[in-house]
């Protein structure tokens, strides 16, 4: 089973390169590690997500009210959170590059450029509209369910359906 999966790997890579920008559009499979881990190594991402979830709730960035304030320029809060996060992220990435920081497994950290396509404009506008309606981007959808707003399960399923329909129509959409 393992060897079979290994053998199919190069095929998948090749397929993705010919298939319009699958990998440059997002982060699918580009952070491949050569190291094989047991499943419990993934628990550290659960912990990272847990901390991120607490931050999302306590910063109130998952609140529909905060999103409405942002899009009406009635509060600096959201701009402050996103702006401070971007600046912190920029400094971190700059430091990682400068000092060639490695992962905890000693592997070099790869950062991948994003290629421009018109989907970023059309899709960006559509997502912006969805953000204003639901007051949530994908991360907050998960967080909102955790806060007890169980009806957001429907919104999450609808978002999965939206992603699926995009995948289905992808070839026909302008990029």
């Amino acid at each position: 089973m393992e060897t079979k999966e290994e053998m199919t790997q190069p095929v998948i890579v090749k397929e993705a390169n010919t298939d319009f920008e699958v990998r440059s559009l997002d982060t699918i499979c580009i952070n491949e590690s050569r190291i094989e881990h047991s499943w419990w190594h993934l628990l550290k991402y659960l912990v990272a997500g847990l901390l991120f979830g607490i931050l999302l709730v306590k910063a109130e960035v998952i609140s529909w009210f905060r999103i409405q304030e942002m899009f009406r320029l009635q509060s600096f809060h959201m701009y402050g959170v996103i702006g401070a996060a971007v600046v912190t992220g920029m400094i971190s990435v700059w430091l990682i590059k400068k000092f060639k920081v490695k992962t905890i497994y000693g592997e070099p950290i790869d950062l991948h450029p994003k290629q421009f396509n018109r989907g970023q404009i059309y899709g960006g506008l559509l997502f912006g509209a969805g953000w204003a309606l639901t007051g949530a981007c994908p991360g907050p959808l998960y967080a909102l369910i955790g806060t007890g707003a169980t009806v957001i399960i429907v919104t999450l399923i609808s978002a999965i359906a939206g992603t699926w329909v995009y995948g289905r129509l992808r070839e026909k959409l302008p990029h």
């Binding site: 659960l46 992220g89 920081v101 912006g128 919104t155």
Partner: protein, 189 residues
């Protein structure tokens, strides 16, 4: 005790913002992972309903970390709500309060507007558009754009990617138009 009281209040932007930014190096150092949440929706499609669509034919098992990450988000939100909750109503700009009062939205006890987001509301035109159509646009739009607030606005900008700046600007334009010009009509339904 004072710290516990403080931590239960909403966290100001200059505390929460930098901490959210630190998720970027945390994931990179943990295992070379680029911060991004919307891909999880794609992995769920690939795992559950690939339907022979090329976009969903990839080895999603290699991306399981992302599903662990979003499960963590859900658990973190439960912890924050159960144990770090001040119990106070959410403080909103008075201008927004008076605007929303026109649409009979008065309940600020929860992080979401309970008047809009509840199970019976799904059967109303207003609730259906906000919850179902809105959710669809989030899923469709983020994948079309190749990322969301985390993948483009935070991770992409951190890595100085100009396509991410284009995407982020478009998120904002789409949101401004919808919130100011379209949402009032929906809330009036």
């Amino acid at each position: 005790m004072q710290f516990l009281e403080w931590i239960k209040q909403p966290w100001p932007w200059y505390v929460a913002g930098p901490l959210i930014g630190l998720v970027v190096p945390l994931l990179l150092i943990m295992g070379n992972k680029s911060f991004g949440v919307s891909s999880s929706l794609r992995h769920i499609c690939a795992a559950c309903i690939p339907a022979d669509i090329p976009f969903f034919k990839y080895n999603w098992r290699k991306e399981t970390w992302n599903l662990f990450f979003v499960t963590g988000i859900l658990l973190g939100a439960i912890i924050a709500t159960q144990f770090l909750n001040s119990g106070k109503p959410i403080a909103v700009n008075p201008k927004l309060v008076s605007e929303l009062a026109q649409y009979k939205i008065h309940n600020y006890s929860s992080i979401v507007p309970v008047d809009l987001f509840n199970w019976p509301a799904l059967l109303t035109a207003r609730g259906f558009i906000l919850l179902v159509v809105g959710g669809f646009l989030v899923g469709f739009g983020t994948r079309y754009a190749g990322g969301c607030t985390s993948g483009h606005a935070i991770m992409g900008l951190s890595n100085l990617q100009w396509p991410s700046l284009v995407a982020t600007c478009c998120f904002m334009i789409g949101g401004f138009i919808t919130a100011n010009l379209i949402l009032p009509a929906i809330l009036s339904l």
